[in-house]
């Protein structure tokens, strides 16, 4: 399989003249192709450090740009613009505005870890993808992705009860992302489920929506985890120089 490379020349920056004669030579069409000059000035010199400060991004500095991650990537096979190697390159170069052009697809990483398996430098590109989408949200470049909503709903339930009850998690997720639960394929699925399920199990599933399963004596663990999460959030905000913002927000709330 070839290494999927990414052209750094964008089609809109290529110019050709349909009819052009220079010094008596006909250079019409592609003979006159040239690339518009482009100067990048808006580097974010601390971009790499900011990503490295978020969970998963720690090893980004090791990357030597071999492209194995992109070459093995599940999502790249569906969408060639999904290019972990390229994003790692941009981050290390501090080219924030270039990175932002792809801001709406980075969260689509499916965490299959094919990249991690292929990477010869233990960069853990999967982690870098997570850190990057996290960074985009923390910096306000993107709204919370559906995936982040899901992770939050899921984690909240575990922190609270120690266990996950799927139908509850699904309902909360749909509610939080403003989607209707009654999608035709969902209805079809439930129909097929009902066909085979014994009454006892149905009753249990129904019950589970009222009495969530939980781990006993969970409250101390719950408090400890919550405390740790809050502590980490504070640290991350500082690393991203968002601390001031957080302070202002806090005062805002207090006022």
């Amino acid at each position: 399989m070839p290494i999927h490379e990414k052209s750094l020349i964008r089609p809109e920056n290529l110019q050709t003249h349909d009819e052009l004669i220079l010094d008596g030579v006909d250079v019409s069409g592609h003979w006159s192709t040239f690339i518009e000059t482009r100067v990048v000035k808006d580097y974010n010199e601390s971009l790499e450090e900011e990503i490295a400060a978020l969970p998963g991004g720690e090893q980004i500095h090791r990357c030597w740009q071999c492209g194995s991650c992109t070459n093995s990537c599940t999502v790249n096979a569906l969408n060639p613009d999904f290019n972990p190697r390229y994003w790692i390159y941009l981050i290390r170069m501090g080219m924030e505005s270039e990175l932002l052009r792809d801001k709406d697809i980075i969260w689509q990483c499916v965490s299959c870890n094919k990249c991690t398996y292929a990477c010869p430098r233990d960069v853990f590109p999967e982690g870098v993808m997570k850190a990057t989408s996290h960074w985009l949200e923390l910096k306000g470049h993107t709204p919370k992705s559906p995936s982040m909503h899901f992770d939050e709903v899921f984690t909240e339930q575990i922190v609270k009860t120690g266990k996950i009850e799927e139908s509850r998690t699904i309902r909360r997720f749909f509610a939080r992302t403003g989607q209707g639960l009654m999608q035709p394929w969902m209805i079809e699925m439930v129909k097929r489920m009902l066909r085979g399920l014994p009454v006892g199990l149905l009753a249990r599933m129904g019950l589970a929506t009222f009495v969530a399963p939980k781990t006993n004596d969970w409250s101390k663990a719950s408090a400890a985890i919550q405390e740790y999460i809050d502590e980490q959030h504070e640290k991350q905000a500082q690393a991203l120089t968002l601390a001031e913002l957080v302070e202002t927000a806090k005062q805002d709330v207090a006022a």
């Binding site: 094919k114 899901f150 899921f154 699925m189 085979g196 781990t215």
Partner: protein, 310 residues
């Protein structure tokens, strides 16, 4: 004690999925264990290991959650082996083991949280985490299994689907890729071996460890549907009647998006999806009901009857 004996009595960590959508996996795993004379002792008052979601909020919380399960097995139940049939749980416990051994900061956070939560801190090495595949393969083995087969699976063509989390990333599975007898991370074969011993005909299936997009099954359903469709079609092209699964998330992902592909893309792929424990159970003489075939979303009852298993 040989591996074989050590796995005859293990701490069983079903995980949340097996109490919900993966109910038939739970039922069939227990039924097969019983039939084979293997003892499953459920981990007391277990908690969720964090699935794929918690690590995105904070990886160390995931490590803590998994460590609590192992701590209970080791310190409160005095067990040496934890068996997890769910790829997610299996993966997370292995990952926690790796991190606690290799990353001081993780160990420190886990210790702090365990103390606050009021239980003993899990120390790396106290238990060995295995998958349901290791459990049967190493305690009973192919020959032992073949000797117990009542209804051979002969005539059933199977594509074995292992998904992502069973082999990746490889550094958390130090026992794999260790030569003959060990599991391979690039071409896993434990499920193939067991089903072959039960008489099934395994097809050459190139997408054994492809990803079904389970992480975004609801948050980016279109991607998941496309990925699942690839898997279903490849299995069909390889000549399989059945995709055998060994993870509740993979299994329900395939089932869900098989329907979604039909409803949203008009692509219907007629292939059965069964847990490997359901196939093994039936080979050992259990009825389809006993292994929860009626609880699957995809309907394979008529097919199984036709193959002499119903």
């Amino acid at each position: 004690m040989t591996t074989k004996d050590k796995y005859k009595k293990v701490a069983y960590y079903p995980g949340c999925a097996l109490e919900g959508t993966g109910h038939s996996y739970n039922r069939s795993t227990k039924a097969v264990g019983k039939k084979l004379g293997l003892d499953l002792v459920e981990v007391k008052n277990w908690n969720c290991c964090g699935a794929m979601e918690v690590k995105n909020i904070d990886p160390k919380i995931q490590t803590y959650l998994s460590s609590r399960v192992m701590s209970t097995a080791a310190n409160e139940m005095d067990m040496d082996v934890v068996m997890a049939p769910c790829n997610g749980c299996y993966h997370n416990l292995k990952k926690a083991e790796y991190d606690l051994k290799n990353d001081e900061e993780s160990a420190e956070v886990v210790d702090r949280l365990s103390k606050k939560a009021g239980h003993k801190t899990y120390e790396a090495g106290q238990v060995e985490t295995i998958h349901a595949l290791d459990w049967i393969k190493d305690s009973i083995g192919e020959e032992g299994l073949a000797a117990r087969v009542k209804n051979s699976l002969s005539g059933i063509k199977v594509a074995n689907y292992y998904g992502c989390m069973y082999t990746r990333p490889r550094h958390i599975f130090p026992e794999k890729d260790q030569g003959p007898g060990s599991e391979s991370t690039s071409k896993p074969h434990f499920m193939d071996d067991l089903l072959a011993a039960a008489g099934a005909e395994n097809v050459d299936f190139p997408l054994k460890t492809a990803c079904c997009g389970g992480a975004h099954t609801l948050s980016d359903s279109d991607t998941s549907t496309k990925l699942v469709l690839n898997i279903l079609k490849a299995a069909k092209l390889s000549g399989a009647d059945v995709i055998a699964t060994e993870c509740p998330t993979c299994h329900s992902g395939l089932e869900m998006h098989q329907i979604r592909a039909e409803k949203t893309l008009g692509e219907k792929v007629d292939i059965k999806i069964l847990y490997f424990t359901q196939l093994l159970g039936m080979a050992l003489g259990l009825s389809p009901r006993k292994v929860g075939v009626h609880e699957n979303i995809n309907d394979s009852i008529a097919f199984l009857k036709e193959k002499g298993l119903g």
